[in-house]
């Protein structure tokens, strides 16, 4: 029994975090809000060069042959920096089943009908009649559905079934596994977002003074932020365990993923709510970066299955 990551796993996570700190500062996220693709200029290529995007692909297929246990930490890091790229869809969902020659692959499976970064993806993984379909851009029919998070160009998609480029890359099993990888990756991003929101708020509450004292010295603020910290403390292990279960093909893996996604969403929503309330009007200002993180939380918490959907999946397993 050992519930911890290896030094290699942590080192890879730190390397990715260092890269994102350089390549994906808040200004880069803000820029993605304004530009045409809703994405960054350099991050995708940089992550690609680092091998991150194909990390989950087998080595034979040009990947690193890493597992969900490695990827969950990377996804958490991309969440912390609110990376505006289809990391989960490409690197966690698509990489194991799509040739790494495809530059950007997005995905929307199960109860999650909207495709992120649809307008800039070269292809999309979709679900059709219990099969996992690989649909290149040429065969896609996109209907843009603007998300509250402008750095996440969502779209409802259909496809021209006649097109030859459409290939089936998996049956029910691969479909289910792909969905679980997407839900796990999104859960991990929500944990990273929650941690960033907490850190930002702790820093602000320490420096902002009202009534002659730092607002962070008031119990009303302290207890809210302590609750967020507690939520993180007990949501993270659920995500890490779900990654372990997927990696080792545990029979309960899907239930573990649902437990992780439900709780990661809860703590991220709590972190967003308390972060805004503790910041007050300044946090409510568009010019302040807090809103970029909050809106990412709002979009991810209902993507790859919302809290009610995942709780119901757990209920069916235990009741």
């Amino acid at each position: 029994m050992r519930f911890a990551f290896t030094d290699d796993q942590l080192a890879f996570r730190d390397a990715v975090a260092d890269l994102l700190e350089k390549e994906c500062p808040p200004d880069a996220v803000r820029a993605a809000w304004a530009n045409e693709s809703g994405r960054t200029d350099g991050c995708w290529d940089a992550l690609g060069e680092m091998g991150v995007l194909a990390a989950r692909a087998p080595e034979a297929a040009g990947g690193l042959g890493l597992t969900e246990l490695d990827l969950v930490l990377l996804a958490e890091a991309t969440g912390r920096f609110a990376l505006p790229e289809p990391f989960v869809e490409h690197a966690m969902v698509a990489a194991p089943v799509v040739p790494s020659s495809w530059r950007t692959v997005s995905a929307a499976l199960g109860p999650s009908p909207l495709v992120p970064c649809a307008d800039s993806a070269d292809a999309v993984l979709l679900e059709d009649d219990e099969r996992l379909l690989f649909v290149p851009r040429a065969a896609l029919v996109l209907e843009s559905r603007p998300s509250v998070d402008h750095s996440r160009h969502a779209a409802a998609v259909d496809w021209d079934a006649g097109r030859a480029e459409i290939t089936e890359v998996g049956g029910p099993e691969e479909l289910a596994a792909g969905f679980d990888r997407g839900a796990l990756g999104t859960a991990a991003q929500l944990l990273g977002l929650a941690a960033a929101l907490l850190d930002t708020t702790v820093a602000y509450a320490t420096e902002r003074r009202q009534f002659g004292v730092p607002i962070g010295s008031q119990q009303a603020i302290k207890h809210k932020l302590a609750d967020v910290r507690m939520g993180l403390e007990f949501a993270r292990p659920l995500a890490y365990r779900a990654a372990y279960s997927l990696t080792h093909g545990e029979p309960d893996a899907s239930v573990h993923v649902s437990m992780a996604k439900a709780r990661a969403g809860d703590v991220a929503m709590l972190a967003a709510r308390h972060a805004l309330q503790c910041h007050g009007a300044i946090g409510y200002s568009f010019e302040y970066d807090l809103q970029l993180w909050m809106k990412r939380v709002w979009s991810l918490v209902v993507t790859w299955g919302d809290g009610a959907w995942h709780r119901e999946r757990v209920a069916r397993a235990i009741l």
Binding site: L276, A281, F286, V301, T303, G307, A308, W309
Partner: protein
């Protein structure tokens, strides 16, 4: 106890409903927190004014109908039920006007009230400053006496001023006695924003609309006749406004009853085809609680209006009202977003913008942390320190 409306009140309701049905724009106007939208909303305000629906509770001389608080409640309920546009004039009509009626000179009332009612003059609130947010008494903006000019010179900065970039006037608090601390030595000024030395910079709110502004004052001359209430009396004068801001005038029950009606429609319409699940049984009771919340708020308001009609005044209890409506508004929108499931992330789902606006409720007009302190100390009598 009598929970029925009089025939006269029912007539009033029918007249309001009829007019609104005939005049409310079929297409919702663009957000009143954008420059274009603000202008379009002012046209609407003008139509309201011409039909004497802009300020129903005001004297007829100022464009009102001298409606009772009861009729005002009826009008508000009909207004929101009809899906009529937000009132971009509300900070003037609901926050400044009560203070003008109570403390203004006849000259000030004649000069500002009709223009406010018609939307010709639009008012924003100059309370908050970069270092005076929840701690309002920390206001540092100064007003220095200028005998020669017969007035005061304003210097300093206000911020988070709602719709400040579009309004023509600002009412605000400035420190006239540099020696005085905290609540003392403040004065309530009425400031035309075209006065020399005023600089306004609009900036975005959470939803990106330019609904906030910073207002800078550089030696702005304000003549004595624009002091509202006495010099150094600003805090006492302003608290009347804050009271009505927290109390019922800013958030009439009709607003939330309308939101709940939309929530129920959403629940009944849930269409799996549109990427929406049918109502999750686990969410049924969220909807029930939303319904009960709005109904309880309506009933509590009826009780408050009864007390006011009996000549009682509402004191610190107004903090209970502010706490409830602001927390409720967030809950109502959260319930809708949970119902929407994946569609909750969409900007155009009919609820996302409202949710972002609802999130401001627990922050402005005194944060809910401050309000809970007020309830604990002034309603329950718990020790300050």
């Amino acid at each position: 106890m009598d929970l029925t409306w009089t025939a006269e009140q029912e007539r009033f309701r029918a007249e309001a409903r009829e007019w609104l049905a005939a005049n409310v724009p079929g297409q919702p106007l663009p957000s009143g927190d954008t420059r274009e939208g603000f202008a379009l909303h002012l046209e609407w305000e003008r139509r309201l004014f011409d039909a004497r629906w802009a300020v129903v509770s005001w004297p007829e001389a100022y464009g009102g109908r001298e409606a009772s608080l009861w009729e005002w409640l009826v009008f508000e309920e009909e207004y929101y039920r009809a899906g009529a546009p937000q009132r971009v004039t509300q900070n003037g009509i609901f926050l400044l006007a009560p203070t003008l009626f109570e403390f203004g000179t006849p000259a000030q009332q004649d000069r500002f009230l009709p223009a406010m009612a018609s939307g010709e003059q639009t008012w924003c609130q100059g309370w908050s400053e970069p270092d005076a947010g929840s701690d309002l008494a920390a206001i540092a903006s100064k007003a220095i006496r200028d005998e020669a000019a017969g007035g005061w010179r304003l210097n300093g900065q206000k911020t988070w001023t709602t719709r400040g970039a579009f309004c023509t006037h600002l009412f605000g608090l400035f420190r006239t006695d540099p020696e005085a601390q905290r609540h003392h030595g403040l004065t309530y000024f009425l400031v035309p924003l075209d006065s020399p030395g005023v600089t306004v910079r609009g900036f975005g709110r959470l939803d990106g609309d330019e609904g906030f502004a910073e207002v800078f004052f550089d030696d702005v001359l304000v003549p004595d006749d624009l002091v509202l209430g006495g010099v150094d009396e600003g805090w006492r004068v302003a608290m009347a406004t804050t009271g009505s801001e927290r109390g019922l005038t800013l958030r009439s029950p009709g607003r939330f009853l309308a939101t709940v009606r939309r929530l129920l429609d959403l629940a009944r319409e849930m269409d799996p085809a549109d990427g929406l699940a049918a109502v999750d049984p686990a969410l049924r009771h969220d909807i029930v609680d939303a319904y009960i919340d709005a109904d309880a708020y309506q009933l509590q308001t009826l009780g408050t209006v009864t007390r006011i009609s009996d000549g009682e005044t509402v004191g610190a209890e107004s903090s209970l009202t502010k706490l409830f409506w602001s927390d409720m508004d967030v809950r109502l929108h959260e319930a809708a977003l949970r119902l929407l499931g994946p569609a909750a992330q969409l900007e155009d789902n009919g609820w996302t913008k409202g949710y972002q606006f609802a999130l401001s409720g627990p922050i402005y007009a005194g944060t809910n942390e401050i309000q809970r302190n007020v309830v604990a100390e002034r309603v329950l009598g718990l020790p300050r320190k």
